[in-house]
Symmetry: C2
C-alpha cells in the first residue's frame, strides 16, 4: 500500500510486453507496476519507474523484489516452483498460487489434472523412449513438458526418426494426438481469490508457424452451444485449479467438439484484443483479480475486434518509425501497440487492433497493417 | 530517435496527470515519454522512467531536458516565452511554437488576436483601474491575463468594491462581459506541422465552482449548424494561430450563438472522454500531431460517453483503495483513471468515464462513481 496514494502496489515478475501493457493499466488504477527485469532495456522496464533488476530464478532476488508489494504476479510462467513456495511460506501474496501455476508450467501435470477432471483434451501420454512413442502412435505431436512457448518446445513428428531426434534432447516429453482441426479458439477468464469469475467472449485464433498471428473477437459463426461449452471448460479449469488472475484456455475446435490445447495463467496474446474491444482489458482485469478487486465488465465494445501480431521483419527497408507513419496514414482508426523492443526477425514486436462490423474487412485491415510494420511494404 | 527501437522520443514539460496519460499513449506507440518534473512524486514522474527533475522556468534546465528529444511539448502553459524562444533559436523542435502558445498563456493577447480574426467572443477590454472597469460596466468578469487555471485567476465582480479588491492584486487584468449562458461546450481539434487537422465532436461541459466536473460527448441535442460553427471556430483558431498538437476551445452557448471562452494548447480535461469514447485518444493524438505523424480517427467509439472528474474529498472516511473497490463493484463497466496524487480537498485526483446509449443514465452513473471516490459514500 502506497502511503501517499492509499493504493496498492502490484509486483510483476518479468518485464516483457505483457508487463508493459499491464503497466499502462496500472497507471489508470492509480498505481505504478513494479517489475522484475533482467535488463533495463526490457519492454516493461523501459517504461515503468519501479523496475528492480534481478533473476527470476533466484529466490534472494525474488525476496527483495517482493518487499513492499501488495501482491506478486507474473508476466511469464518460468519462475521455479521452489522459489515461489519459499515466498509463499514467508507470507508473500503470490497470485496465482504456485499450486495453480504448476499446471501452466508443466504440461504433464496439466494433462494429468484435466484428465482427472474429465475435461476434453487430445489423447496424450507421457513418453521417454521411441518405444513409448511408437506405442502411442505416429504421427503425433511431441511437447516438452516445461519451458515451451510460441511454438518452441513443440514438434510435429511423422516418423520414428523425427521422434528420435526430439527424444535425443533429453527433455521430459509428452505425446499428443494430432487432431483434425476446424479451427483454433481461445477464451480468457478472470478469477479472483474470493472466487468471482468473469469470462470474455470466445475468440478465433490463427497460428502461423506455431505463433499466434491473428485473433478475431468474437469467433465468427460460433454456435451458442459451442460458445457455452468453451465457457464451461474455462470456468471449470479456473475454479478446479484455483487460478487467480487471467486464465487463457486455447482450444481446438473439431467435428467432435472442443479439446483443450494449452493453458496460460496470465494475460495472453489471444486477449490483446480486449484493450480496445472490451469494456475491461485483460491487463486491468488481471490486476483487479490478483488484488481481489471486483472484476470488470467483459462486454464487447464493438461488434467485432481483430488483432494481428507484428513480428520483426528482415533487416533493411524503412525504419520502424517510417513504417508506422505509413500505416497511420493508411488506416487512421488502427490501434497500434509497439513493445519498444529491438527488431529481430520473427520476434513479436507489437500488435495492431481494429474494430468494426465486418470481420472479413477487419482481418484485411489488421493483416495489412501488421504486414506493413513487419515488411515495410 | 531511439537507436534500438527506431522510434522518436517526445519530451513533455510538466509531469501532471496530462503527462501521465500521455505516457500511457506513448507506450502504445513504442515510446517512453520523457517528462520534466519538479518532484519525483508528481503524477507522471511516478510512472515514467525517463523523468528529468528541473524547473520549467529555468532555461538551463530546459536545455538539458531537451537534449535527445525529437520534439518538446507541454503538460501546462506556464513555461516562459523567453525560455522557449531561446530553445527554438538553438534548434529545439518545440511544439506548439512559442508564437502560438502565447495565445494560450496570455488572455489579453488571445482576445486581441481573436478580435482581429473576427471570431465570436464575449465583449472584453483591458483594464487597469476602477475607472476602466466602471467604463466597461459592472457586473463583469475580471480575469488575470496570465497564470490562471481551473477557476483560479477569474473573479465574478458585481460591485466596484469587488473589482477594487481584484485590482489591488496588481495583476494584469482583462474584463469580460458576463453572458447569459445556455450551457458550456468544448471542442478538441488536433493540428500537425504539415497543416493536417482533425476535430472531435463538440461536447457539453459542466462546471462547478470554476472547475470542469463533467463532460458529455457528444453534446446532447446540439443542432448540426451549431456543431458546424464550433468546428469552424476551432479550425480557424488552430490554423490562424498556427497551433500544433491538441487545441481545446471552450465555448459559451447562448441564445445569440457561440462565443469563445478559453483556449488550451495541450490535452485538456474536456477531452479525457476520448480515451474510451473515440478511436484515438487526445493523448495519442497530441503525440501524433507534435511528431507530424498522420492524425488518428476522431470517430466516436460509443453513441455517448460521459466523464466525471474526481476531486479530493475531505479527510476521513474510507481509504481511496476501499472507495475504488466499492465503485468497481457497483459499476463493473466504469473506466477509472486515478492520477496517483495525494488526496487534498478540491484537487483533481482522477476521473471516471462511462459509455453507452442514454446520456442521462450515463451522467447518473459517472456522477455517482465520482461522488463515491470523492466522498466515500
Amino acid at each position: 500500500m502506497d502511503a501517499a496514494t492509499q493504493l496498492p502496489t502490484v509486483g510483476m515478475i518479468g518485464a516483457g510486453q505483457l508487463a508493459r501493457m499491464t503497466h499502462q493499466a496500472a497507471i489508470a488504477l492509480g498505481q505504478s507496476l513494479k517489475v522484475l527485469a533482467a535488463d533495463p532495456a526490457e519492454s516493461a522496464a523501459a517504461v515503468a519507474t519501479a523496475t528492480v533488476l534481478g533473476d527470476y530464478r533466484d529466490v534472494e532476488d525474488l525476496r527483495g523484489f517482493a518487499k513492499g508489494c501488495t501482491v506478486v504476479t507474473f508476466d511469464h510462467e518460468h519462475v521455479p516452483q521452489d522459489a515461489l513456495r519459499a515466498l509463499v511460506a514467508e507470507g508473500v501474496d503470490v497470485q496465482p498460487r504456485p499450486e495453480a501455476l504448476l499446471y501452466a508450467q508443466d504440461k504433464h501435470a496439466m494433462r494429468t489434472r484435466l484428465t482427472a477432471l474429465g475435461l476434453p483434451q487430445p489423447r496424450w501420454a507421457s513418453v521417454d523412449s521411441i518405444a513409448d512413442v511408437e506405442a502411442f502412435g505416429l504421427p503425433c505431436v511431441l511437447k516438452a513438458a516445461t519451458g515451451g512457448y510460441d511454438g518452441k518446445g513443440v514438434w510435429m513428428c511423422d516418423t520414428p526418426a523425427d521422434a528420435e531426434a526430439v527424444l535425443a534432447s533429453g527433455l521430459r516429453l509428452i505425446a499428443e494426438e494430432r487432431m483434425a482441426l476446424q479451427r483454433e479458439l481461445a477464451i480468457q477468464i478472470a478469477r479472483s481469490p474470493s472466487g468471482e469469475t468473469a469470462a470474455y467472449p470466445v475468440v478465433e485464433t490463427v497460428q502461423t508457424g506455431g505463433i499466434c498471428t491473428e485473433v478475431i473477437a468474437p469467433a465468427p459463426h460460433l454456435d451458442p452451444d459451442t460458445a457455452a461449452e468453451a465457457t464451461r471448460i474455462a470456468a471449470a479449469v479456473a475454479t478446479e485449479l484455483g487460478v487467480v488472475g487471467m486464465l487463457a484456455v486455447e482450444l481446438f475446435q473439431t467435428s467432435h467438439g472442443l479439446f483443450v490445447n494449452e493453458l496460460a495463467m496470465r494475460a495472453h496474446n489471444s486477449g490483446h484484443w480486449t484493450i480496445e474491444g472490451a469494456e475491461t482489458s485483460q491487463f486491468e482485469q488481471h490486476l483487479r483479480a490478483v488484488l481481489d478487486y471486483p472484476l470488470g465488465s467483459t462486454a464487447t465494445a464493438a461488434p467485432y475486434t481483430v488483432m494481428a501480431n507484428v513480428l520483426g521483419g528482415e533487416p533493411g527497408g524503412p525504419r520502424l518509425d517510417e513504417r508506422l507513419q505509413h500505416l497511420l496514414a493508411e488506416d487512421p482508426a488502427a490501434h497500434v501497440h509497439l513493445y519498444g523492443k529491438a527488431v529481430r526477425p520473427g520476434r513479436k514486436i507489437g500488435h495492431v487492433t481494429v474494430r468494426g462490423d465486418d470481420p472479413a474487412l477487419l482481418r484485411h485491415r489488421a493483416l495489412r497493417a501488421a504486414k506493413w510494420l513487419q515488411e515495410g511494404e
